[in-house]
């Protein structure tokens, strides 16, 4: 298994009455009331430090994403962060997992160019995630008509892959981008960087990922229970299409913190976990998908199957959760190293995922505590995870030079 560190670059000092006083953490929060530009500069540097620390401590990858106009995690330019990290990790074999530049909020050719630059600076270590962008980002912050989100993403995806591969300049006559002569400089070092596509359970995305032989990622903060249906659906869809069950075809994002023991973990992290779900995730329910963001079949499925109502119930529920509830509901995986190890192995096997992303800095969690959790994880948990899938499968969705197979010892440890 490949495991990446994920930090979202949050506002770490929102006021105690934030969720009562303000409508939303996304789109609407007034910057000048809630933040100080110089302090925010420190947050960025803390975040970069934590990423670098995670890479040096032994994570297989560092994972970055793009979000706009919010205090949940404001990395509007993940490529800027990635560029700094690519340079800083040049002596390591860490993958730079971009999950990534959002296809609808950037000029597509710019993504092709910047990803190629990151691949160049890192010596061929980029994973080229291609998310459409959340509804808050794409539709509200960047004004993309919701119903065009998918179509724009698909077109940008095609243009980027073609721009990387083309031997000669070509004209591109898309609906949203028209170019007379595409001939980008530089090109990625990797022949084609691996592509990951985040999805939220739409059958059309499963099929799209399969058709293009990409990796499907379910990026969620709600844990295994809410993910099981989605990943089960993905694997069933792949079976129907005749694809193998290589677990590296799938990725999942899990909130995770590690302490010396279950008790000390709770003592040190409870308030940060609760801060995250109450304040950093304080988003009006309807913001998650403006009408049209989901295609009609997905909308219909969500409404008629009762999933939409269930999600709605869950979103309302977790606002009152305490740390223990998040743990018991499997929304977070937290505790001493043994607890975290067992639960992550269980999660990986049940969802059948080979690429695991762990959100280990979130909300108000300070740098020292984050680094402590990282160190405990990489020294006491990670060695047991590497061999979860044995050596039966090749991770085609990981940069080739970072792909070394797990040692026999690690395989034995994971299966012990």
């Amino acid at each position: 298994m490949k495991v990446s560190f994920f930090g979202v670059m949050p506002h770490r000092e929102l006021p105690d009455d934030f969720e009562k006083k303000y409508k939303s953490v996304w789109v609407d929060p007034p910057f000048h009331e809630l933040a100080d530009p110089a302090r925010v500069g420190q947050f960025y540097n803390w975040t970069l430090d934590e990423y670098a620390h995670a890479a040096k401590a032994g994570f297989d990858g560092v994972c970055l994403n793009e979000h706009h106009q919010n205090a949940y995690g404001f990395m509007p330019g993940p490529n800027l962060m990635a560029s700094a990290l690519a340079r800083e990790t040049n002596q390591l074999n860490t993958a730079i997992v971009m999950l990534g530049s959002t296809l609808t909020t950037n000029f597509p050719l710019r993504i092709a160019e910047e990803y190629a630059m990151i691949d160049a600076i890192s010596g061929g270590r980029i994973v080229a995630g291609m998310p459409p962008g959340s509804s808050m980002d794409a539709n509200q912050a960047y004004g993309v008509p919701p119903i065009e989100t998918r179509e724009r993403s698909a077109e940008a995806h095609d243009l980027i892959l073609r721009a990387w591969a083309a031997k000669k300049p070509f004209a591109f006559n898309g609906k949203y981008t028209k170019l007379p002569k595409v001939n980008i400089w530089p090109r990625p070092i990797q022949k084609q960087p691996p592509v990951w596509i985040p999805g939220a359970g739409s059958a059309s995305t499963w099929e799209y990922v399969a058709r293009n032989q990409h990796c499907y990622c379910f990026v969620s903060f709600f844990g295994r229970k809410m993910a099981q249906n989605v990943l089960d659906g993905y694997w069933a869809s792949n079976d129907k299409l005749g694809l193998d069950r290589n677990p590296y075809r799938a990725g999942f994002n899990q909130v995770c913190v590690v302490g010396e023991t279950d008790e000390s973990c709770e003592r040190e992290n409870a308030k940060h976990i609760e801060y995250f779900y109450r304040r950093s995730m304080h988003v009006p329910e309807h913001y998650w998908a403006l009408p049209g963001y989901q295609d009609y079949p997905s909308l219909e499925k969500a409404v008629r199957s009762g999933v939409a109502a269930k999600v709605s119930e869950k979103l309302a529920q977790f606002k009152t959760y305490k740390y223990k509830d998040f743990v018991n509901e499997e929304m977070i995986i937290a505790g001493g190293p043994e607890t975290v190890r067992d639960r992550l192995i269980d999660l990986a096997k049940r969802l059948r995922i080979g690429n695991l992303m762990l959100v280990m800095q979130l909300g108000s969690m300070p740098p020292e505590l984050t680094k402590k959790s990282i160190d405990l994880f990489t020294s006491k948990v990670l060695p047991h995870l590497r061999g979860v899938w044995g050596d039966e499968w090749e991770n085609h969705w990981w940069p080739e030079r970072c792909r070394a197979k797990p040692s026999v010892k690690n395989v034995e440890r994971a299966n012990a």
């Binding site: 008509p145 309807h286 008629r304």
Partner: protein, 260 residues
């Protein structure tokens, strides 16, 4: 008063790619009604019009049953305007009286500007389509049902009859789906700012035009009505334009069929 007998017919347009349902009924000269962003609802208002007119109410592309993908084939605003011209031709209506409400008003005004000779009379009920920085139109697509009710309705008791409750997702899934998708389809041409340049084409409208507005309208402020009348483009139009009629009084006399 009794409701008018309503019929429906499905057209085949845009190279058979769009098959909109058209509700129609009533007696008298033809009147085409273009509904707003929330979808078509044949209500008392259309019944009232149908007593003097044969009312044709086409559903916006993508909002007819089973036709959700039809919206995909209209790429842009130009496509949409040409599409409506095709629809009016297919209905076989010449010298149409065109009535458009809100988003439908934005389309109706555009049709009247694009083909002025095809429209005999134009009625715009608090239409979208223009933009003023001093009266920005709230981004309704990013609102929940309660927030929408607040801007769509003056009388919140009336709103309760029309707006879906959070429980509707379980009790009325069909209505939730239809309403959500209607907003999604209209959003293609109204999000993020419902302005596709109509201001520059208003001068081409030559049909006698009636503006009907609620003076408490919170979605499209009535300042748009006064503004539209003051613009030189409207004054240049070949027919005099009516004064804005606030609180929706007055449309009946204007719409009285001509006695020629």
């Amino acid at each position: 008063m009794n409701a008018v007998t309503r019929h429906e017919r499905t057209l085949s347009l845009w190279g058979k790619q769009i098959k909109p349902r058209v509700l129609f009924g009533g007696n008298g000269p033809p009147l085409i009604f273009l509904h707003g962003a929330g979808g078509l609802l044949w209500d008392d208002f259309l019944d009232a019009l149908a007593r003097k007119y044969t009312v044709y109410a086409p559903e916006f592309p993508g909002t007819s049953p089973g036709e959700y993908d039809a919206i995909k084939v209209l790429d842009d605003w130009h496509d949409l305007v040409v599409y409506y011209s095709e629809l009016i031709d297919e209905l076989g209506i010449k010298d149409a009286t065109l009535v458009g409400h809100s988003f439908g008003g934005m389309i109706a005004a555009e049709i009247a500007a694009a083909s002025p000779r095809s429209i005999a009379k134009l009625v715009l009920l608090s239409p979208l389509g223009l933009w003023r920085d001093d009266a920005p139109i709230p981004p309704w697509l990013s609102m929940n049902a309660a927030e929408m009710a607040e801007v769509f309705f003056y009388d919140q008791d009336v709103a309760k009859r029309f707006m879906l409750t959070p429980e509707a997702i379980a009790t009325q899934p069909d209505l939730v789906l239809a309403a959500t998708w209607a907003l999604a389809c209209a959003g293609k041409f109204t999000w993020p700012i419902p302005d596709r340049g109509l201001r520059d084409r208003l001068h081409r409208i030559s049909a006698p035009t009636l503006l009907v507005w609620g003076d408490k309208d919170k979605l499209v402020s009535p300042v748009y009505a006064y503004g539209a009348i003051k613009t030189s483009s409207f004054r240049r139009s070949t027919q005099p334009i009516s004064r804005p009629v606030l609180r929706t009084r007055g449309y009946r006399s204007f719409l009285r069929p001509a006695t020629h």
